[in-house]
Symmetry: C2
Subunit: 139 residues, 2 copies
């Protein structure tokens, strides 16, 4: 299987496949006489795994750490569990941040409905967005 066929089979670009190789998520493939990369079904499964892991929000670095274990013959399940837990923690932290931001935005919107633009002075720039005592450090 050539790189284009592999890419089509998994639904990624050929550049992405080469990128995964550069980043050592994919092993250097065997080459045909013409220098073309040659892949087997394992490569399809491996890229499918990468994409699924990505859809769970894992980074390529984390995914590589899973693949590295597997390649060294270690069953990566425990490590994967840890990564999932980490990611879950991050996602929940992020959701809490966004919830706080949402509340702030709702308040700003309410404020914008209450305030009259005619009262908006030059020094304020815009009175809807008033300087907070403690600016929240989000995102």
């Amino acid at each position: 299987m050539r790189i284009g066929e592999l890419a089509d089979a998994v639904g990624v670009s050929t550049q992405a496949v080469r990128y995964y190789e550069r980043e050592r998520l994919m092993p250097a493939p065997t080459r045909g006489g013409n220098g073309y990369r040659a892949y087997d079904d394992q490569a399809v499964a491996r890229i499918a795994f990468i994409r699924t892991a990505q859809s769970a929000g894992l980074t390529l670095v984390q995914i590589r750490s899973i693949l590295d274990l597997r390649d060294r013959g270690v069953i990566p399940c425990d490590h994967v569990s840890d990564l999932i837990d980490d990611r879950l923690f991050e996602v929940r932290r992020r959701m809490a941040e966004l919830a706080a931001l949402e509340e702030e935005l709702v308040q700003l919107r309410d404020r914008s409905e209450r305030l009259d633009p005619a009262d908006c002075s030059d020094g304020d720039i815009c009175h809807i967005i008033a300087v907070q005592p403690q600016p929240s450090v989000l995102e």
Copy 2:
């Protein structure tokens, strides 16, 4: 006021101030005889505004659009309202995405508790992360 004093007053770095100038969020300041930038209290208010707007999740491009209106003598309140609405929409969309991702991760974690690592075959890479029929396109 020199750039360092301005930066200290608002709690940003001098590089950030110069960056805002380059990005046209801050006007080119007057210069002292030595070439040093000289700022007044308006500059403090302006940077404070930028930071507050940032804490509401607005991008610098959006913030610049607000400042541009104000600088042209237009009261930017209506535009600010629109930006806040846009941002609120984006935040809510993102929260929904993250909620879906959280559910996916919880399922993966449950799965990892149910499955025995000993059953994890080489072809799978890891049986916790199984290829989905329709990989969700998140983040």
